[in-house]
Amino acid sequence: MADLKEAIEKIKEIPGNVRGDIIISNLLYIRSKKGDIGLNKVKEKVKELNFSQSLDKIRALEWYPESLSVSIILSAKEVFNWTEKDVFEMGNSSTKTSFIMKALMRYFISIDKVFEEASRYWDKYFDFGKLNILEKDKKNKRIVISVEGHNFHPDICIYQAGFMLKIAQLSIGQKEVEIKETKCFFKGDNCHEYLITWQ
């Protein structure tokens, strides 16, 4: 807990807001996996991290500090002793209940269209950072994405990989899609880079 508290205190200093939609999706995911008891444990943990915002009053389109959203993910990981795979799954599943994602589904016609609009998704969710498409090679079935300015915690890189993978899976319509973080701010790179490939 001391480690988490310390990490969160540092994270709180990083500016940037996220839509409540992401927070709600994560809370829904926790409840689906661990029930109301599990969800309450996470809420308690977040409270202990000195966040005054009530998690019961989050509204999808309002802006909240990204540090709050990150705290929920990290608290769930600690409370349930989750692995990186679980955090990835959380990111992957959050797209399924996201209200903003539903509104963006108009672009889910093809993978080209989805990633043409990818930076738009970012702006709908965050008021900081940037998402860029570095490479789009439909012939060789690969896309390279970079994320700049979102450097909260290494576990969030995993969460975001899960999130982006689901967007690709939804647009391609098949399971054989993979994602790999090829560059990471926490490993000394200047941004996060993700390679998406499919069969």
């Binding site: 995911y29 399924k96 589904m105």
Partner: protein, 219 residues
Amino acid sequence: MKNKKEQEKISTLLEDLNLLESYAQELFSFTPLPLFFISPNGVILEANPSVEKITKKNIYEIIGEPVETVLDEKEIKRIIKETLKKGSTQSQEMFLADKENKKIPVNVFSQARRNQKDKIIGCFLGLFDLTEIKNKEELLEESRQVLEIKVAAKTRELQNLADELEIKINERTKELEEKIVELEKINRLMVGREMKMVELKEKLEENEKKIKKLKNNHG
């Protein structure tokens, strides 16, 4: 000043959006009809709580899956094709498979969803669970069959009774006919005896007349 007004405007718009979002969510969650939104290539992008109920799968197991994992592949592909071409389809009966692969009869209605440029971006599917109706239909059919069997049994019973009655009537008729023949015989005998008596009476009267006449002649 201008900035403050802009801020107020944004805040009002955000509030309106939040209200709209809650309204859409509540409406979508409330409806007892299972509703899907699928991409043109048949991936389930959205499903309401009624879908969870009918499929016995949670939302995380449904979204992102090909629609043919829950609806009959051949039929649903045909419906998507038709919807993308015509804009909508009405009342198509097919089977939905739940988590235990139990087949549930449903009626499917579809409607294309378009973007601002009028390009189709997917389709809505509305399902109507036919289980209750089918169960009632089966019960009705069973009742009809039971009724048919009962009617047939009663008809057979009545037929047997009628046959037995006919036999009895025939026997009775035969008995009566025999009695009539006997009576006729008796009658004939009686009539014959009667005639004979009349004849004898006449003869007696004639003889009496003759005797009287003889007496008169000798007297």
